[in-house]
Each structure stands twice: as structure tokens, then as C-alpha cells.
């Protein structure tokens, strides 16, 4: 697949110019909610509850701020969904609205964008870019072919794990783009002797699914995870790298097993043994030779970064008296790569999507102002009054409800946008309902990986779709079984693994 296509498929709303139709509709919705809609009594009551008694506070003004932030959220949903405006512009618009309507003081605006989570996203993208530059992702692909054997089912398991594990550390579009040629080679070499279109479809779907189930495993598995860590920090809750991994690994492991069973049944391959194709492919891959010294050094530094992430809240804190934070560690790794001459700033400029970093900084700002104004609390109250009669307003029931909402919305918007839009609300719901925000927050972040239904669900899905080996109905076929299965795994994980085995108190407020 041409690299240009990969870039386009993953560029999202960063390469586009403004679509004036949706810009107009977005602004009209903002005006409608902020200025035309009458002030709901519940907003005034919420402002009174939160701010009454504070010196120099105008409750009516605070209620207006809640309304403006709800209007801003609606406009952001339109812009995130339609990508009508370049995404970084939306991120900056979030700050401008706060500034222009006097919600946040001009001296504090920049502060709402600054967070360790933003450093973490920037550092992780830079680390990932360096790993890809030195072809370490390809080494994983080569390892899979060497270890998976020749049986089709074993190769499916190999691809699932071989895509899921790198996706926990490197952008999923890079992993998918790396695996497509491997799958294409296996299919082409087999197809020469035995026509095997279903084999091609199976291998491609497996790549897309592997990329989707790997993200929840670690905080580096997608900006949505870092975003959620940032939102949780606003509530004074720290989630360490290992805590996240211990929660997320269950989902990745279970889904790997479930999908390894389901996918070959749904896309029954014509051949059960790929000895000839695997043999020829191995010969090609042998030409890549052994790892070079620089590749080993890049891998070693990445390993050190992962170790530092793991020990940040324990050993590092004991030695230094403070922790570096996930962002501090990630940026350290990215800088070390430059200091050792393994990469250059030009590489980071070219290979890191700085628009993504600006976008998520904007989302952090939105989450921060959402909480500070009381808008998230008001929104949470409205939803809680709707779900209370169903008994889903607290505990494990609330976590599962949030998971289902996240799994639906992620098929309509990007995963990051879903977490950005509803993350602060569901965390406030958790706090209101005395439910552990970690369960709700991490549950939501994991649920947003379930964009199974559409070919445009994730960058990885778009990349495998462009290979021409599968149709959009193949995604629907996979999702018809895979999506409910993922939700069941999520529910079991919350009720049995998180609460029962990890011992996270569903009514507590920490790990």
C-alpha cells in the first residue's frame, strides 16, 4: 500500500480546510444553546449549589458560564464528528471561548492546556516515530512469522498478538501499515496455487481487530488513554503505568482468545496450512539480516523508558522524592534519542503529528473548564436522573452503562473525541454516585476501542480496507459477533477481574 494513502487515511481532520456549511451549523448551535435557549432552572440551582457563598461570585453569571460550556461542547461534537474545521483550530477555539466570555482569566488560559498527559502524548508519539524509523515494528512482524508456525489458525493468533502488543506502544496506523504487506504476501503466495479470497479477508480483518484490542493494554495505547489519565488527575486520582496495564491486559488477552476463535469461523479460510507461503516469506524476511547496533540501542532505550514508567511511582519516587510522571519519562526518552544522534528534530517534525498534540491539549482544557464551571456536574445530574430508574446509577452497573455508551459513540466519532466529550461527565457521574472514578474512567477508555462496525472506525480499519481484500460488509459481519463479545468481556472484566481479583473497591475513589 502506498505510504501516501496511509498518511491520508490517518490524517483525519488535520489536512482539511474549513467546511463552511458545518462551520455555520456548529456556530448556530452554539448561539442557539448559549443565547436563545432559556436558562434552565437546574443550571441556576447547580451554580447556587457550587458557588453560593463564595465572595464576589455572581451566581447568574456562573449559571451562564455552565450554559456556554454546554454550548461549546455541542459545537465541539459537531466539529469533531464532521471534521468541518481543522482539528487544532477546534482545540484553540476551546480556549478562545473561555477567554472571550470571561470564563477563564487570560493569565490562566494557557495553564488549562498544560498537563502531564499532553507531555505524555507528545513523548509517546516521538518514541513511536523513532521505533518506526528504525523498523523495530517490522522486527515484531518478522518475529510473528518466525514463531507462529504454518497453520492458518496459529498465524491468526500470531497476527492478533503481533499487532495488539506493538499497538500498545506505537500508533495503530503504523502497525497496520507494516502488517498489510505481510498479510498480502501470505495471501498472494497461497492464492497462486489455491484461490483463497477468504484467507485474504481473514488476515486483513485480523490486523484491524488486533490493532483495536491492543490499545487498551497500556496508557501509551492511544491518546484517549492519556486523556483519561489527565481527566482523572483533575479529580486528584493518579493512575500509574502499571496500574493501567494490570487493568487493561485482561481485555487484550481475553479478546485475543475470543477473536482467535471467532474470526476463522466467520471468515472460514480455504486453506488450513500455509507452509509454502510461510516458507517463501521467511526467505524474504531473512534478507533483512540481524538487528543492527543502532536498532538494538533504540530498543534498549525504549525498554528503559518502559521500566521507568513502571517504577515511576515506586523506585523513582523513593530515590528522587518525587515521580517524573508518565509525560516526564516519555519526553526523557524522546530527548535521549536526539542526544545520542539516533534521530533528529527534523524527524520529529516530519513524523510526529503535532496537530494531535494540540488537539488533545485542547481536550484537556475543555475537560478542565467543564469541571471548573460545574457544567460536567450539571450534565451528570441530568443523565443520572434518567438512568436511576434502571438501577444503573452507581457501582458496577454504572461502569457497564458507561462502557456501552462509549462503545456506541466510538463508532460514531473517533475514540479520542468520545473520551474528550463524555469523559468529564462520566467522571462527575461516578463522583456523584460514590462510584470509583477509576473503574468508570478506564472502563470508558477501553470501551472506546470497540469501533468495530465501520471501515472508517479506526485508522487501522481504513488501511486494511484500502488493501482491497475486504468489503465494508465484512466489518459488519465481524462486528455482529465481535462487538457484543467485546462488551461481554468488558462486563466480566469489571465485575470479576477488576473488583473481584484486583480488589478495586467499586465504591472507593482510588486503586
Amino acid at each position: 500500500m502506498p505510504e501516501k494513502d496511509n498518511e491520508q487515511s490517518s490524517s483525519g481532520g488535520f489536512a482539511k480546510t474549513t467546511d463552511f456549511k458545518w462551520l455555520g451549523i456548529g456556530l448556530a448551535i452554539f448561539a442557539l444553546i448559549a443565547f436563545i435557549m432559556p436558562m434552565p432552572d437546574s443550571m441556576v440551582l447547580k451554580a447556587e449549589e457550587l458557588f453560593k457563598g463564595q465572595a464576589g461570585v455572581d451566581v447568574a453569571m456562573k449559571a451562564m458560564h455552565i450554559k456556554i460550556i454546554i454550548a461549546l461542547l455541542s459545537t465541539c461534537v459537531i466539529f469533531f464528528a464532521t471534521e468541518a474545521v481543522p482539528m487544532p483550530a477546534v482545540a484553540l477555539l476551546i480556549g478562545l471561548v473561555q477567554l472571550l466570555f470571561g470564563i477563564t482569566d487570560s493569565r490562566n488560559i494557557v495553564g488549562t492546556y498544560a498537563h502531564d498527559a499532553v507531555w505524555f502524548i507528545a513523548g509517546s508519539l516521538a518514541l513511536g516515530a523513532t521505533l518506526v524509523k528504525y523498523g523495530l515494528d517490522k522486527r515484531v512482524g518478522m518475529l510473528v512469522i518466525n514463531l507462529a508456525g504454518t497453520k492458518t489458525r496459529m498465524i491468526v493468533i500470531g497476527i492478533l498478538l503481533g499487532t495488539a502488543i506493538p499497538t500498545a506502544f506505537v500508533g495503530e496506523h503504523a502497525v497496520a501499515a507494516m502488517y498489510v504487506p505481510i498479510a498480502m504476501a501470505l495471501y498472494t503466495l497461497t492464492n497462486k496455487s489455491t484461490p483463497a479470497p477468504r484467507l485474504g479477508t481473514l488476515l486483513m480483518v485480523t490486523i484491524a481487530v488486533g490493532c483495536m484490542i491492543g490499545g487498551p493494554m497500556s496508557p501509551t495505547g492511544g491518546a484517549r488513554n492519556a486523556l483519561m489519565i489527565g481527566f482523572l488527575a483533575d479529580y486528584g486520582i493518579e493512575v500509574s503505568f502499571m496500574q493501567w496495564v494490570s487493568m487493561g491486559i485482561f481485555y487484550t488477552a481475553c479478546m485475543s482468545v475470543v477473536m482467535a476463535f471467532i474470526l476463522p469461523l466467520l471468515f472460514k479460510p480455504e486453506v488450513s496450512d500455509l507452509s509454502e507461503a510461510v516458507g517463501l516469506l521467511k526467505k524474504d524476511l531473512e534478507k533483512h539480516g540481524a538487528m543492527t547496533g543502532k536498532q538494538k540501542l533504540v530498543a534498549l532505550i525504549m525498554l528503559a523508558v518502559v521500566v521507568l514508567w513502571i517504577v515511576d511511582k515506586s523506585v523513582t519516587r523513593d530515590i528522587l522524592g518525587f515521580s517524573l510522571g508518565l509525560g516526564g519519562v516519555a519526553i526523557s526518552g524522546a530527548v535521549v534519542y536526539m542526544l545520542l544522534g539516533l534521530t533528529s528534530w527534523k524527524d520529529y517534525e516530519d513524523k510526529v503529528s503535532w496537530g494531535v498534540i494540540v488537539l488533545y491539549a485542547g481536550c484537556i482544557s475543555l475537560g478542565s473548564v467543564f469541571k471548573a464551571t460545574g457544567a460536567s456536574s450539571w450534565f451528570a445530574d441530568q443523565i443520572m436522573s434518567l438512568v436511576a430508574p434502571l438501577g444503573l446509577d452507581s457501582g458496577v452497573g454504572l461502569v457497564i452503562l458507561v462502557g456501552v455508551i462509549g462503545a456506541i459513540l466510538t463508532n460514531l466519532m473517533s475514540a479520542g473525541a468520545t473520551v474528550a466529550v463524555i469523559g468529564p461527565v462520566v467522571l462527575d457521574m461516578a463522583v456523584t454516585a460514590n462510584t470509583n472514578p477509576i473503574l468508570v474512567g478506564v472502563g470508558l477508555a477501553i470501551a472506546t476501542s470497540m469501533a468495530y462496525w465501520l471501515v472508517i472506525g479506526t485508522p487501522a480499519s481504513s488501511i486494511v480496507y484500502a488493501s482491497g481484500m475486504l468489503e465494508s460488509k465484512d466489518f459488519i459481519r465481524m462486528a455482529t459477533v465481535g462487538w457484543p463479545a467485546a462488551l461481554i468481556v468488558l462486563a466480566i472484566m469489571v465485575a470479576v477481574y477488576w473488583v473481584g481479583i484486583l480488589g478495586i473497591n467499586p465504591l472507593g475513589s482510588g486503586f
Binding site: 500500500m1 502506498p2 505510504e3 494513502d5 491520508q8 487515511s9 458545518w22 451549523i25 448551535i29 442557539l32 444553546i33 435557549m37 432559556p38 434552565p40 455541542s74 461534537v77 459537531i78 464528528a81 464532521t82 471534521e83 524509523k133 528504525y134 523498523g135 517490522k138 507494516m178 498489510v180 504487506p181 505481510i182 498480502m184 504476501a185 516469506l281 524474504d284 524476511l285 534478507k287 533483512h288 539480516g289 543492527t292 543502532k294 536498532q295 460514531l412 466519532m413 465501520l454 471501515v455 472508517i456 481504513s462 480496507y465 484500502a466 488493501s467 482491497g468 465494508s472
Partner: protein
């Protein structure tokens, strides 16, 4: 009144989401068609492997040596053209190969 506003907002949000998904799906289809077209174009090209190009180059150079031995200037000029053609042909062959069969493609070492 609040319900009316809520319905309007929800309808607009739903329209935004579904219309954008439709547009994005159509773009994904376009990309798929582009890739398919590119593959068809490749299939129609007179593509030669590295070994085939080297063989043809050697044959042509031998013919030149046999027939233009008494005209060294012309022979050298045509040799240069043949070598350039062969290099381009090999580059075209390497460029269309994925990283699997082209170890140097897009990877620093």
C-alpha cells in the same frame, strides 16, 4: 421548552455524525479504488526483475561491443543510455515492492 431545544440539538448532532460518517466512508471507498487502479496499472506494466534487467543489460552491451567496436564514442554513449535504462528499470521494480521484499524501504539502520 427545554425539551424542544434538546430535541433540536440532538437532531443536529445526529445529522452531523451520520453525514460525516457517510462522507468518510465514501473517501475510504475512493482510496480503495485508487489502490485497486494502481495494482491494475502495475499488472499492465512491463515489469522486469533485477535479474532479468541485468541479463538484458549484459546482452545489449555484448551486441554493442560486437557491432560498434570501431566507433568507441558512439558505443560509449549508447552504453550510458543502456545503463541508465537498466538502473531506472531496477529502481521501478524495487519501488513497487513492499518492505517485506525490500529491506531498505523506509527504515534507518
Amino acid at each position: 421548552m427545554e425539551i424542544l431545544f434538546l430535541i433540536i440539538v440532538l437532531v443536529v448532532l445526529a445529522l452531523a455524525v451520520f453525514s460525516s460518517r457517510k462522507e468518510q466512508a465514501s473517501k475510504a471507498d475512493d482510496r480503495k479504488d485508487q489502490v485497486r487502479q494502481q495494482k491494475e496499472d502495475f499488472a499492465q506494466e512491463d515489469v522486469m526483475t533485477y535479474g532479468q534487467v541485468q541479463q538484458r543489460r549484459e546482452d545489449l552491451l555484448n551486441v554493442l561491443d560486437e557491432n560498434l567496436g570501431d566507433k568507441p564514442d558512439q558505443r560509449d554513449q549508447i552504453k550510458k543510455i543502456i545503463n541508465d535504462w537498466a538502473d531506472l528499470k531496477i529502481k521501478a521494480f524495487q519501488d513497487r515492492r513492499s518492505w517485506v521484499r525490500n529491506p531498505d524501504k523506509g527504515t534507518a539502520s
